[in-house]
């Protein structure tokens, strides 16, 4: 580009130079020869007058005169007789004259005789150079017409022309050289600022959007820089908006509890969120992998294929087995853009907990019905037998039957009582007192209640550990219920000779009460579930003992309502139940 501009400029200068050179050369040459010819003609006129007066005899006076004039006007002077014979010449001796040829045929001589004046430019054999000849006729005092000819060698003219050419050519070459240098300098300057702009533009292109081009006012590059800066600013703003949007979406996706997966129509995963990875227990990068590499669950692939083929949403429950058994509700949506399938979005919602709760509720209803039906069936059976005649026929047996009916009615009553308590606890309608309670007083009361039972089973109850325990904030009546349930359980599951020990210790602003027995213990697999309603480690034994299966559930609810927590630990040598309450 730079070179092309320079070549064009040079060409124009050279062309112009040539034209000027040619023109000047022509005019100057013409002007010069006219000037010289005129000058010579004037001289010739003067010389003619002198010659006409001075020459008496042509042959005698002519040589001397020619020499004299020639000296004065610094030109060759030739005097030619009318017949063409050269009679005098300023540059030749008279002897040499004789050897000259007749000059009558010379064009200037002929013109002078015919028209009174003649001139010509010729190569002179005599002087071996280009000569300008000017001839005029004159009439000497005696004799015929003669011709006076002045001749000037053109060599002086040539020299002048050479000088002129030299000067003109030199000037023009200098002008061309200067021009080349100047244009080189100018292009170099503008190229440098263009280079700077290009470098910054490329930095902007590489992502350094904050870069700006310094604007030079008034230059074309300055305008370019301004436009470039505008563009960079707009791109930066746009990019900022886009990345903010993307960050927002990323945050939403990251924060979602549901797993999200986006795949293209070939099953290559393009996007997932952390919840998805957690659900399928994936640590590595997922994007770019095939769905089949993530999970081989057949239902997953059937759903995917179905959504791709039908292009319709699909909701399905998926049972995952590894790493943990989970029920996952999957919602598949085809990604359509102008009717073309771009891929599939799947949302995975872990509903294991919901399913578990539903199952618990179902189980609860089933359990309640079952628990209620058993005593009712027994009562009904014995009552029927009594009605059938036993009452009259066998009063002793009747009395035993009534005893059984009473026992079951009692069990039914306590079951209904427990259920009511539970439902009150759950609905939150139960009003709880909260005041400072001495643990020892409550424990001692319960111990007295259970004393008889403990004696029968030969289990010792030790509440001495609570004698100087700190007070707690609780509802005394409810706390009694908690102790009753825990201590009753402990007695039930402790074999003869065992003991139930209560203790308490302060833990910050909490008090931890422990009910420890030396019983059979609870299998570790059952431990997390013993506080569930109707959950029994050994259901046959529990019923035999007259338990409703709700005792621990009530304990948990009551303690939680008093702001505390419950738990249990067990080894082969017994179990410890602990209750944590606020210190009073």
């Amino acid at each position: 580009m730079k070179l092309r501009v320079m070549a064009a400029q040079l060409l124009i200068v050279l062309l112009l130079g040539m034209v000027i050179y040619g023109y000047l050369d022509r005019t100057l040459e013409r002007y010069q020869s006219t000037e010289v010819t005129e000058h010579l003609t004037n001289d010739a006129g003067l010389a003619r007058t002198v010659a006409a007066r001075e020459i008496r005899d042509l042959r005698r006076d002519a040589p001397a005169l020619a020499a004299a004039i020639g000296r004065e006007i610094k030109a060759r002077v030739t005097i030619i007789a009318g017949n063409g014979e050269v009679v005098g010449d300023s540059e030749l001796t008279p002897r040499e004259l004789a050897s000259l040829d007749n000059h009558a045929g010379r064009p200037e001589v002929r013109a002078a005789l015919a028209k009174g004046r003649g001139s010509s430019v010729r190569y002179s054999e005599t002087l071996r150079t280009d000569m300008l000849y000017v001839a005029v006729p004159f009439r000497p005092a005696t004799g015929d017409n003669a011709v006076l000819r002045l001749a000037l060698p053109l060599s002086s003219l040539e020299a002048a022309k050479r000088d002129f050419h030299l000067v003109l050519g030199g000037t023009l070459s200098l002008a061309a050289l200067l021009l080349v240098l100047l244009s080189l300098l100018l292009t170099r300057v503008s190229a440098r600022s263009l280079h700077a702009v290009a470098a910054i533009a490329s930095r902007i292109g590489q992502g350094e959007l904050g870069t700006r081009v310094p604007v030079e006012k008034g230059s074309e590059v300055g305008e370019l820089a301004r436009v470039l800066n505008d563009m960079a600013l707009r791109t930066e703003e746009q990019l900022g908006r886009i990345s903010a949007e993307k960050n927002r979406l990323d945050t939403i996706l990251r924060g979602m509890g549901e797993g999200i997966m986006v795949a293209d129509p070939h099953g290559v995963i393009t996007l997932v969120n952390p919840a998805f990875k957690g659900l399928f227990a994936i640590q590595d990068e997922v994007e770019g992998k095939q769905l089949i590499d993530i999970s081989r669950h057949p239902a997953l692939h059937d759903s995917f294929r179905d959504v791709i083929a039908q292009r319709q949403e699909r909701v399905e429950e998926l049972l995952l087995r590894s790493p943990k058994e989970k029920t996952v509700l999957t919602h598949w949506v085809p990604l359509l853009e102008n009717g073309a399938l771009q891929g599939v979005v799947a949302v995975f919602h872990d509903i294991s907990d919901i399913r578990q709760l539903e199952k618990m509720r179902r189980d609860f209803v089933a359990n309640v019905s079952h628990e209620l039906r058993t005593p009712v069936t027994v009562i009904k059976g014995y009552a029927e037998t009594l009605l059938a005649g036993v009452l009259e026929d066998n009063p002793d047996q009747a009395a035993r039957f009534v005893g059984i009916i009473f026992a079951h009615a009692d069990r039914l009553g306590s079951l209904i009582g427990d259920l009511l308590t539970l439902s009150q606890l759950e609905s939150g309608t139960l009003v709880m007192e909260s005041r400072s309670v001495r643990l020892y007083d409550v424990a001692e009361q319960v111990r007295a209640l259970l004393e008889q039972k403990a004696l029968e089973r030969r289990v010792t109850i030790d509440v001495a550990g609570l004698s100087d325990a700190p007070a707690v904030i609780a509802d005394p009546g409810r706390l009694e219920q908690v102790f009753l349930n825990l201590m009753d359980n402990a007695i039930k599951y402790t074999p003869a000779g065992g003991s139930v020990t209560l203790s308490a210790e302060a833990e910050g602003d909490q008090v931890r009460i422990v009910v420890k027995d030396t019983g059979t213990g609870i299998p570790p697999s059952d431990l997390p579930r013993i506080f569930e309603r109707f959950y029994r480690v050994d259901s046959a034994r529990s019923r035999e003992e007259g338990g409703t299966g709700l005792g621990l559930a009530i304990v948990k609810h009551v303690v939680q309502m008093m702001g505390g927590s419950v738990g249990a630990e067990s080894s082969g040598k017994g179990s410890s139940f602990y209750v944590t309450l606020k210190r009073g």
Partner: protein, 225 residues
């Protein structure tokens, strides 16, 4: 042009791989379902499991055909050749596992018609171990991970032990009461099938090691030394 052929070739290999893994997924589900059918006495699930063996058989034929097609048309070399031959073998193992699951489900159907002989404790543990072995073997195949493939061989030993233990236990049942022989034999068969499933998983794992390292470790000891 050459690149185009190569990418078509890659797509074909990838297709075989995807179908193989899908088949593996179905087989894994079959193992779990056949055991659930037995433990939960769910005869409908047993019937479904028996039916899904047909799908597995169809997939075996399809993958076999695809592999042969690749061998005939592409004449693969080195790693690709190892992959295709491996796929042909894995597919056979998976199909066998499918058959065994179907057999377990058939026995479960029969057992569900009678009273339960004993609580199923060892069988689900064996099934879980066998299923884990299959899953680990396929995961090793997915990741080209020879190390986890080596672990599968060790898990096989655990299943073998459980199988022997169960057989001894069943023997005492049968000696005590001849009426239990029929059920005990069925349980014995199921235990054997599970043991064989674990063996197939080991085969797959060994072939994965061959594919990754190019080292054939079949018929060598699982634990070094």
């Amino acid at each position: 042009m050459k690149e185009l052929i190569r990418s078509q070739f890659d797509a074909e290999l990838n297709d075989v791989r995807a179908r193989l893994l899908e088949m593996g997924g179905k087989v894994e589900l079959m193992i779990a379902n056949s055991m659930t059918a037995l433990v939960e006495r769910n005869s409908a699930l047993a019937e479904r499991t028996i039916l899904s063996d047909l799908e597995i058989n169809a997939m075996e034929l399809e993958i076999d055909r695809k592999c042969l097609h690749i061998l005939a048309r592409r004449q693969p070399a080195a790693k690709d050749l190892r992959f295709v031959t491996l796929a042909l073998k894995i597919v056979t193992d998976l199909e066998r596992i499918g058959d065994q699951c179907a057999s377990i489900a058939k026995h479960a159907l029969e057992l569900n018609r009678e009273a339960q002989l004993k609580p199923y404790i060892d069988l689900p543990r064996m099934a879980e171990a066998a299923n884990n072995a299959v899953r680990d073997a396929l995961d090793a195949f997915v990741r080209g991970d020879a190390q986890s493939a080596a672990r599968v061989r060790q898990a096989d030993g655990f299943v073998d032990e459980l199988n022997e233990q169960l057989q001894r236990e069943l023997l005492t049942f049968m000696m005590e009461n001849p009426a239990t022989v029929g059920r005990a034999m069925r349980i014995n068969s199921i235990s054997k099938y599970l043991e064989r499933i674990a063996d197939h998983a080991t085969n797959i794992a060994e072939m994965v090691i061959f594919m990754v390292d190019g080292k054939d470790i079949r018929h060598t000891s699982a634990s070094p030394g």
